[in-house]
Amino acid sequence: MSLHGHVYERRLVWRHRLGQLFEWACRLATFTALGILVLLLLSIGRQAIGWLDWGFLTRSNSYEPREAGIMAGLMGSLWLVGLTAIMSVPLGVGAAVYLEEYAKPTRLTKFIQLNISNLAGVPSIVYGILGFTVFVRMFGMMDRPEEFQCSLGFASFSFQLPLGRVVISGACTLALLSLPVVIIASQEALRSVPASLRHASLALGATKWQTIRHQVLPAALPGILTGVILSLSRVIGETAPLAVLGAPAQLSYAPGSIEGIGDAVQHPDKILQAPFDQFTTIPLQIYGWINETKPVFEHVASAGIVVLLAVLLLMNGAAIFIRQRFQKSIRW
């Protein structure tokens, strides 16, 4: 008996040691991952020192590393993400509302749901191929591009068909790419709205849409906004699909040649022209600088990365702010 007890205790000590070892291994894994993040930020930040200044943000690119700038990419990214949001947010939220509020659990609904989860896992480069074929080349149906002029009285713009490598092609592609993510995030936000809210509204005689429009959507808004901003920040960092569309890495002008707010106010036709203009984005410029043969360009690339990360951090900060702010005011 005592012998068995002895063995048990010795084993127990060993088991506890193993447990501790395991706990430390798990902890180590976590801190290694976080350490890599810190290492990445520090090493890139150190390279960017001295290269990141106001001029870098306001200049167009140049073959001279010291003269290189990110203005075209910054404006391109903003245009792209804005147009993407205009397309993907209403469509994505609409689809989420249908799936959560209207759809009955039929086979079709299940299929749509499975399809959305699968689309979220399709590699972004496949979306690039899709966008290239459908928007940039339009299946090669036309032999040569045709110019169209469009006049709206106060301003006019021109575009060509097939669309070519313009902002709107990129935005359509990225809208398709971000749609599943927006749908899934919005669905989660809608699901967290308690059913009692819907029942109360319906019991007071509101129609289904009135209930959704005035009760459910406002209640789910913070969650939806957070999800939308996070998916849009992924859109900003997206490189592969745009590279596949054939968007150039470096351009010397912003879409529509708009370089400031004053410019846009004075020439409204530039705003209309911008979606049909060529573009580059911050990550594409970074990719271009990485591929430069002159080694000095790695500093330019780091400076570009810092700008990109700053934009992302701003967006994520906004998401967190919205989450905090609205979560306090709504309590079930």
């Binding site: 290694t32 993040l37 920040s233 054939g246």
Partner: protein, 323 residues
């Protein structure tokens, strides 16, 4: 009785009566259904585009498989589509090999690390540690892939791979670097997906373990992880499918040379890197090179689709088991 019948006839049931409000409700319903259907149409469009360019071919143009035989594509061992017509070979094996090599390395690094982080976060971490670690992992997940590529090329290769493996003949661009970088990228994904399934394991299982005298290690490693195994495997599959589709980091770090070799110290080319690399230059519309892009994309799409589908089905089974 009869008067009630008449009044019903005169004034049809409110449920059936026409009203603009009802019409609007119905219109909105249809509109929202259209939004939901758009996702199905996207899938169909992807399949349509890839299949027409590779297999069917719209009359003026021929399809890829009319130019290149199926057996050459799947059994050939040389991938040289950039060469002139006589010397061009379209055997997809080197690209698939490069992709699998990178995916394998990334899995070796990302999957165990991600799972251990998940175990730490769900079983060991205090609420405070969790509240610090989770946002940082989200940040790690939010870093764009081109940044990881730069990190791999400018820091991992010169300061880690060259000093350690330089003697073994590591090249400036190598698959190992690409694999490590992609492995780091999938860590947050594995961690957060696995943590979700680990936390879904009911507490009663943990408590019965403790009641039988199990240590914390026994509970985490021998009760919680095995009971969540199907969910963990699903998260692994999703992460691996992401590795297969990962593009920029690989295109930057791993080089652009199709190479039928499993040596991680040599340059290689994945399917995704090939597509980006070709599209960076001017491609002649209708050339076999251009059509080969679609063929490669189709292979990529099918591979990731199968993995995603399997993992979705596993996750669904898992949810049924515990919720």
């Amino acid at each position: 009785m009869s008067s009630a019948g008449r009044s019903r006839r005169e004034k049809p049931s409110l449920r059936r009566a026409f009203s603009w409000l009802r019409l609007r409700e119905e219109a909105i319903r249809c509109l929202l259904f259209g939004c939901a259907l758009l996702s199905v149409m996207t899938t169909l469009a992807i399949i349509f585009v890839l299949v027409t360019e590779t297999m069917i071919g719209i009359p003026p143009h021929t399809s890829f498989f009319q130019d290149v035989s199926l057996s050459e594509f799947f059994l050939g061992t040389e991938w040289t589509p950039n060469f002139s017509a006589e010397q061009a070979h379209y055997g997809v094996a080197p690209l698939v090999c490069g992709t699998l090599l990178i995916t394998g390395i990334s899995g070796l690094i990302g999957l165990p690390t991600g799972l251990m982080i998940a175990v730490y976060l769900s079983e060991y971490a205090s609420p405070k540690a969790r509240s610090i670690c989770k946002p940082m992992l989200e940040m790690l997940a939010g870093v764009p892939t081109v940044v990881y590529g730069y990190f791999g090329l400018r820091f991992l290769t010169p300061y880690f791979i060259m000093p350690v493996f330089g003697g073994l003949g590591a090249q400036g661009y190598n698959a190992l670097c690409g694999g490590i970088v992609v492995g780091i990228m999938i860590i947050p994904m594995v961690a957060s997906l696995s943590e979700d399934v680990l936390r879904a394991v009911p507490n009663s299982l943990r408590e019965s373990g403790y009641a039988l005298g199990a240590t914390k290690f026994d509970v985490s490693a021998r009760i919680v992880v095995p009971s969540a195994l199907s969910g963990v495997i699903a998260s692994f599959l999703l992460a691996l499918s992401r590795s297969i589709g990962e593009t920029m980091a690989v295109a930057i770090c791993a080089g652009n040379m199709a190479n039928l070799s499993l040596n991680p110290l040599e340059a290689t080319q994945t399917m995704t890197a090939f597509i980006v690399n070709v599209m960076q230059g001017e491609v002649v519309a209708g050339s076999t090179l251009e059509k080969s892009l679609y063929a490669v994309a189709l292979v990529l799409f099918v591979m990731t689709l199968v993995m995603n589908l399997v993992s979705q089905l596993i996750l669904e089974k898992f949810r049924e088991a515990y919720q």
